[in-house]
């Protein structure tokens, strides 16, 4: 695992709650908002399971700690998106909170139902970008969620030991989290 320069993290006291909101104007229309909400709720909960940080969705985009939206091309942050594939998304380090997805991608919440060869699993990308929002940079561990690339039609949502150790070094461990559960999960996925 790795961190951004200066190892920034959110400073919000303990227990920490970070709010997130979806852009009222920059969303996609072929996946319902309720499905997108469900996907992000699951993605945030994976991180919340391992660190003492809670995530709560709020309506007010402007006041949210984490601002999520779908943008196309040059969208004003100096990091223009490039159309289908290439760059899929980006997020800013703490305590900025901007979380941008490339609107040009074929986003999917269920790869069984979406047949496009260029479909990108929204939950996998969401889980990865939340890692950036929390302060993790890219990892060299291929299996880790924080590895920088993701093939179309592939899914990588389970945090690996590398992800967990990295984020826990920033925020500490969730008292209810047990490493044994993670190892069991990794063993079963390896057998699969």
């Amino acid at each position: 695992f790795a961190y951004f320069y200066g190892r920034p993290r959110w400073e919000r006291g303990s227990p920490m709650t970070l709010t997130y909101a979806f852009s009222p104007s920059n969303m996609i229309d072929y996946i319902s908002l309720s499905e997108i909400r469900t996907v992000f709720e699951r993605a945030f909960s994976r991180w919340a399971l391992v660190i003492p940080v809670n995530f709560a969705e709020i309506e007010d985009y402007e006041s949210a700690n984490i601002k999520i939206g779908f943008f196309r091309g040059d969208h004003g942050d100096g990091e223009p998106f490039d159309g289908v594939l290439g760059v899929l998304a980006h997020a800013f380090s703490p305590e900025n909170g901007r979380f941008h997805l490339d609107e040009a991608e074929t986003w999917a919440v269920d790869l069984e139902k979406v047949k496009s060869k260029v479909a990108v699993d929204l939950e996998s990308v969401a889980t990865h970008e939340i890692g950036h929002v929390l302060g993790l940079a890219h990892s060299s561990v291929t299996e880790a969620v924080m590895y920088p690339s993701l093939r179309p039609r592939s899914r990588k949502v389970d945090l690996k030991l590398d992800d967990v150790e990295g984020v826990q070094a920033l925020y500490g461990s969730n008292p209810n989290f047990k490493f044994s559960s993670l190892l069991e999960s990794e063993n079963s996925s390896n057998k699969g």
């Binding site: 290439g86 760059v87 900025n96 950036h132 890219h138 060299s140 690339s149």
Partner: protein, 114 residues
Amino acid sequence: RIIPEQITVITTDTRNATWHNFTRFKDAEKGSHISGMSELKKYFQRFGYLSIPDNQNGNFTDVFDTQFESAVMLYQQKLGLPVTGKLDSGTISAIMSPRCGVSDTGPRIHSTKH
């Protein structure tokens, strides 16, 4: 009356068009001079492996020089690839894969809230 089902197969390239052109640099190594390699150098610069050149216009050359070799090795190390310093097929394939826009090494997207 049963109408035969029409099946339309749409094939779409699963890689970004710009990055797909990088296949032509496969097997390039230090000393190579391939037209358009400056675009690949821009990719490496974008993701934190190369700094903008010091020459007058700040443009990259098409030469696979020592600095670029170091960048390739750093990339291979960072992506968990065999460190060869050459643009072997595994490295080219990794470069063309869809990815996150956050820089791998530098504080390019590092920012604080204002």
